[in-house]
């Protein structure tokens, strides 16, 4: 007797890589959208598209908001939201600009600016996590507060004293090919992706987003993690601020309004659910590029910037609606319009579909069976095919009878 095999459950839930699954993943769909937009651009303006510098300028145009989107992934992952990021960005730019005006070295100014962003984030985080205030309210209020502080401090002034390499970062290309801003963004994005997908901290974010109670009971320090996430959001807004200041070369208190909502829109387009606990870091990264390319394509089509926002809005709405068109949705439609809203008829159709599937599996078995001769195989396959046809006919007849009965019954009721 051999020793009985000990049953172990494989806890490492790993799906096998399947090409069919991979190709319809949300990130891949985003890639297709990006490719389609590029194709459109090539068709519309081939000479412009292949001109040197076009693609770089498109990419650069989308990069000032990009880092902010990464921070937003974390916040949305928790099921929270942060609409104060535009204001935080201006505050940290302001801190940098004021210190540079005062003659501080660039490194000090940047560190102070990032710290200011982080502190603003911690303020949000403490109010949300410690005082249990809804994130929407907190961040609406703090966006007024932060922007108000910027207005008080800066007044009508514009801060222009940023170091030259800020604008090099925002406007320059490495070797004339790759924009520095994109490299900067991708470097930060890699850090965010690794943290989200490969560390314990990242997994904890998913758990909190799915159920913060469960997270609490399983020993995750929800309050602390929430504060950290909001602080990270503030820091990423500050990093965005560096690109923003470099791009515009001057900061005033009224700038960057609407950035918060744009960042949320990009993150949602990238497949991050606002309910929390769903999404990947790659999606929003692709979505950042989609937004940039879409803006440029619409520019080339002579669509005014104020009309472009219609497309932004519609794309956002369609993006959140696409996951709704799943199997249940189509089953519901079929039940309503094909089966006259009657579950019995649906059941007949389902049963016969299952029957036919089994018969088809039988055919596959016949082909796999090597002991059979050619003649036998053909005969068996024919048999099965006849069965399938019979089952289909039976299903049709059954449904027709059931429908007739139903019609008669409904007529009687009326």
């Amino acid at each position: 007797m051999s020793t009985p095999e000990i049953q172990t459950r494989d806890l490492a839930v790993k799906e096998k890589f399947r090409l069919s699954r991979f190709l319809v993943r949300w990130e891949m769909i985003l890639v297709y959208i990006l490719a389609a937009i590029n194709l459109l651009l090539v068709i519309l303006r081939p000479n412009l598209y292949f001109e040197s510098g076009t693609i770089q300028s498109i990419i650069r145009s989308g990069m000032d908001i990009s880092v902010m989107v990464l921070g937003m992934i974390f916040v949305l992952m928790l099921g929270d939201i942060d609409v104060s990021v535009g204001a935080i960005m201006i505050v940290s730019c302001m801190v940098m600009g004021l210190l540079l005006d005062a003659g501080a070295p660039a490194a000090v100014a940047i560190i102070a600016g990032i710290a200011a962003g982080g502190l603003c984030g911690v303020f949000n985080g403490v109010l949300v996590a410690r005082f249990r205030m809804p994130a929407v309210i907190v961040t609406i209020a703090t966006s007024m507060l932060f922007r108000g502080v910027a207005e008080i401090v800066m007044g009508e002034n514009t801060l222009k004293n940023f170091p030259d390499w800020f604008s090099t970062l925002a406007w320059g290309d490495l070797g004339g090919l790759i924009p520095y801003s994109m490299l900067f963004f991708l470097a930060v994005a890699v850090i965010f992706a690794v943290v989200l997908h490969k560390t314990k901290f990242g997994r904890e974010l998913y758990i909190i987003g799915n159920s913060s109670t469960v997270a609490q009971y399983s020993g995750i320090r929800v309050v602390r993690i929430k504060i950290i996430v909001f602080a990270v959001m503030g820091v990423s807004a500050a990093l965005s601020g560096i690109l923003f200041a470099g791009r515009l070369k001057g900061i005033s208190s009224g700038m960057g309004t609407g950035y918060e909502l744009k960042a949320i829109a990009i993150a949602v387009l990238g497949g991050v659910s606002t309910n929390g606990g769903k999404g990947k870091a790659y999606g929003p990264v692709i979505a950042v590029f989609i937004m940039a390319f879409m803006t440029k394509t619409l520019d080339l089509l002579n669509v005014h910037a104020n009309i472009q926002i219609i497309f932004q809005g519609i794309i956002l709405l369609i993006a959140v609606m696409i996951p709704m068109f799943n199997k249940e949705f189509f089953d519901g439609l079929k039940l309503r319009f094909v089966f006259m809203g009657d579950k019995n008829i649906e059941a007949i159709s389902r049963r016969s579909a299952k029957e036919q599937q089994e018969l088809k599996a039988g055919i596959a078995e016949v082909y796999a069976d090597r002991s059979l001769t050619e003649g036998e195989r053909k005969a068996k396959v024919n048999e099965y095919n006849a069965d399938i046809a019979a089952s289909k006919k039976k299903c049709r007849d059954d449904i027709k009878r059931a429908k007739d009965e139903l019609k008669a019954r409904r007529k009687n009721v009326v």
Partner: protein, 332 residues
């Protein structure tokens, strides 16, 4: 004994803190600037804040159901510009018809929001974020980027909001009337109570036979209608219209609601609190504009006030819970 009861009733009044804050502010106003209490200033303050007041009522319906609508600023713009274009196209349309048209346009926009939230079950924040962009762009399409200035307005429409009744502009009466109607609607009608029901618990209201999706659509349509009314009155009051009007108004309106004790998670919020909050905010903006150099403080102050108000609300709630527990303990 009876006197004690009245005192306790006053102390237990939910918006007690707000009233105190308002009184303190008014006393401060006495010292800051005597001219605050002139009739002209009060009337002007009310006129300037009527548009916000109407928006606030609108968003209150949505907040009570537990949703949020950040597209109202854009709806205001759509309604404002379309009313203005209508007026320019046909000078003979009477103002009241224009305003009704504004309400209808707003309600139509609200219906889109309501359909997406109620029937398609998308998160309200995302729906209204999307439609905020769409409506803002639509407003631009309608105007083609043009600005409309006072000399383009017809005499009837231009004088409509400024018609004085008892010394107050007509627009103030629209706001007050809306407050009364909406207060009665929320407090004493079946659909009004249903808004609270689905905001409090969507599960139990479903069990009670309330059609949640329809009630939600109603809330968004009402909100849109209020924003539409606000848009038409904005055009009539300020006589300068572009597709950019009303940007950022949604946040201020939500802020006023929160200050007035409307819960953003739904199910809570009363008209009296919102009325006091509107008055409080108008007093603050009016006072700040009277002190030279301090009008830049407005945003920061508003933000700080909301944070404090919410913290106080939460602290109050937990205190009340503790008191209730203690009383229950005493009874046993």
């Amino acid at each position: 004994m009876k006197k004690n009861n009245i005192l306790r009733k006053i102390l237990n009044y939910k918006e007690f803190g707000l009233v105190i804050a308002l009184i303190v502010l008014l006393i401060a106003a006495l010292f800051i600037n005597k001219s605050f209490f002139t009739f002209g200033n009060i009337s002007r303050t009310l006129t300037n804040n009527s548009v916000f007041a109407i928006l606030t009522v609108g968003i209150m319906f949505v907040l009570i159901t537990g949703g949020i609508d950040i597209s109202i600023g854009s709806i205001l713009a759509v309604s404002g510009v379309s009313v203005t274009e209508l007026m320019i196209m046909n000078n003979s349309i009477p103002p009241i018809v224009l305003i009704l048209a504004g309400i209808a346009i707003g309600a139509a926009c609200g219906l889109i929001n309501g359909f997406l939230v109620g029937k398609m079950k998308i998160v309200p924040m995302i729906v209204t974020l999307g439609t905020m962009y769409v409506f803002r762009g639509l407003a631009f399409v309608i105007t083609q980027g043009a600005w409309r200035f006072p000399h383009m307005f017809t005499e009837a429409f231009a004088s409509y909001a400024k018609t004085e009744i008892l010394g107050f502009d007509a627009i103030v009466f629209w706001a007050v009337g809306l407050f009364i109607v909406a207060g009665l609607f929320l407090g004493y009608t079946r659909p009004g109570r249903r808004l609270y029901a689905i905001g409090t618990s969507s599960e139990s209201s479903k069990v009670a036979g309330i059609r949640e999706d329809n009630v939600k659509i109603l809330a968004y349509v009402l909100c849109g209608a209020c924003a539409g009314l606000a848009g038409a009155l904005y055009a009539a009051n300020y006589l300068t219209v572009s597709s950019d009007i009303g940007k950022g108004y949604e946040m201020t309106a939500i802020a006023i609601c929160i200050l007035g004790g409307v819960s953003i998670t739904g199910g809570r919020g009363r008209m009296d609190g919102v009325v006091i909050a509107v008055i409080l905010m108008s007093v603050i903006t009016s006072l700040l504009s009277m002190i030279p150099g301090y009008s830049v403080w407005q945003d920061a102050l508003q933000g700080a006030i909301i944070i404090v108000a919410v913290i106080v609300n939460i602290a109050n709630g937990s205190l009340a819970d503790k008191r209730a527990l203690r009383e229950r303990g005493n009874r046993i």
